[in-house]
């Protein structure tokens, strides 16, 4: 029995009195890849940002390594948990390498990066296939390239938990599969990977567990094939679908037109 690394119980959040999330409960362990799914406005990103420590006024409890997320020192927390936002709007001309290197900020006190920082940044850029545009202005990249740079920055943090908010939205097919393959490898190395996604087929192929939200409430949390059923998808997403067996094993969701 692996003990839970990230555990939320009855976690909720309200923006200025409007409740956008309530009753989220799950215990997530190292070596898991968990997909958070649900329609727009279901509270997926909110749940993720509570876990990332960005909403300290959350309700209920959200424990990382047994301690409430809001009680963690930000710097210590950043050495454990990395967060990949949906997008990063950059005002200033930082290069990609500089953006990746920002992931090393929690590890050094001085004005300069260490040899280890450079090694980690290099490795992260290779894993996400973005070393080729390291010296380009981040703002001049395409959406998909930016997303890979932001992911590289999170990987450079060498976290134990990786939280991702729709990491493949802007990616082409090749890089979608590359990134999900990478997330699977990281999971195998013992990371806990939690990703918000709209692509149920990617969740089906890569995730072990799925947490399904609907209208701010947790609808289900369990093994992927138990949660992502045609009945649940019809109920939550209001879309008809059927499960098609894949040639290589596993299933594929085919949506009705």
């Amino acid at each position: 029995m692996v003990t839970a690394l990230l555990e939320f119980r009855e976690a909720g959040f309200a923006y200025n009195g409007t409740r956008v999330l309530e009753g989220a409960t799950a215990a997530l362990s190292p070596g898991e890849l968990v997909a958070i799914v649900g329609p727009n406005g279901a509270g997926k990103s909110t749940l993720l940002s509570v876990c990332a420590g960005l909403q300290p006024s959350y309700e209920g409890s959200c424990l990382y390594a047994g301690r409430e997320v809001r009680d963690w020192n930000r710097r210590e927390f950043a050495r454990e948990v990395a967060f990949v936002p949906q997008s990063l709007r950059m005002e200033f001309p930082f290069t990609c390498e500089q953006v990746v290197m920002m992931g090393r900020a929690p590890f050094g006190d001085g004005l300069f990066e260490s040899e280890e920082d450079f090694r980690e940044a290099e490795r992260a850029m290779e894993l996400t296939d973005c070393a080729a545009f390291r010296n380009r202005d981040f703002r001049a990249l395409s959406g998909g390239e930016r997303q890979r740079v932001v992911l590289a920055s999170a990987i450079a943090q060498r976290p134990r938990v990786l939280l991702l908010d729709e990491p493949t939205t802007f990616l082409d097919l090749k890089h979608q599969l590359l990134i999900y393959g990478l997330l699977r490898d990281l999971r195998k190395q013992g990371l806990l990977v939690v990703t918000v996604t709209h692509d149920l087929n990617l969740a089906l192929s890569f995730a072990g567990r799925v947490l399904m939200l609907q209208g701010g409430r947790q609808r289900a949390c369990g093994a992927v094939e138990e949660v992502l059923t045609p009945a649940a998808i019809r109920d939550v997403f209001e879309v008809e679908c059927a499960m098609i067996p894949q040639p290589g094993g596993g299933q594929w969701i085919a949506y009705a037109r």
């Binding site: 420590g53 948990v81 967060f83 990063l88 005002e91 200033f92 930082f94 290069t95 992931g103 300069f112």
Partner: protein, 335 residues
Amino acid sequence: MRGRALTPGRLARILAVCAGICLAALVVAPWIGTAHVDPRKVMAGAAPDAQIFFQARLTRVLLSVLAGGALATAGVIFQALLRDSLADPYTLGISSGASLGAVLAICFGWGGGGRLPAVWIAALMGALAALLMVIGLASHGRRVSSFSLLMSGVTVNTIAIAVILLLQSVATFGQSFAINRWLMGSIESVEYSTIAGLAVVVLPVLVYAWRGARSWNLMAAGEEWASTRGVAASRFMWRGFLAGSLITGTVTVITGPVGFLGLIVPHALRLWFGADHRILLPASFLLGGAFLVCCDTVARTVMPPVDVPVGVITAMLGGPFFLWLLRARQKRYWL
């Protein structure tokens, strides 16, 4: 230039060049002026050359370097804090508060208080009042966001400017002239003790900001971004806002609002060196200072015996220079 990782050697080379330029401006500028001064007489302390050199010119040059450096640094700080390259040291209302204080002193003819001019004391009070108002409006509990800071700062700024306009409209002709003159911003000869006082405020703030340069990089990318990379974002924003306001307010009290420099110097330096605050913060101080020294030298020599307000010169010299820089870069990078 921009892409390479920052090593101690590269930073040292860049800062050595900037420091050289700043030093050159400091050394050369006091010798330039409408009256000729003889170096031998200056060194011998003979009148009037020594007085012109040490009392009239050197103090202006030293004030320029500190004020220009502080405003450019404050520009970097506020632009990063608000993640807006159009922000400048005056966006968040501190200097308008100072101006309002000064205008009140001019309108009501407040007399001197001890050794400092009444206008300075009133400007300082005004800056403090504006600072407290922005803090009060922007804070939600102890938390703050760049949005709340921007909204409250701009509001306080607008109110202060409105009151200044009101006072100006009812002022006498003479007062109105004095108000206008103050609002244009100018460098004047001051006592060495004033320069020392300014240095005591500005230099520690600069060192403080520079030490946190990597956090400034994170902050310039976004509050969430900084927060998930180990920066206590709210606390950092408060300190940054106070640091930027402190130096902007102090400079404004002495010189009035000298425009343009705090906006343009950070921009120009980003075009040269990229967005890394480890370079940007010290370089903006050194080159912002050198730039204001040059502008003030032009201001006091171009139309003798009139002292052109230095803010006019910063805009007239800086504007075309910046456009040229932008065009040159466009050719290299975008075309």
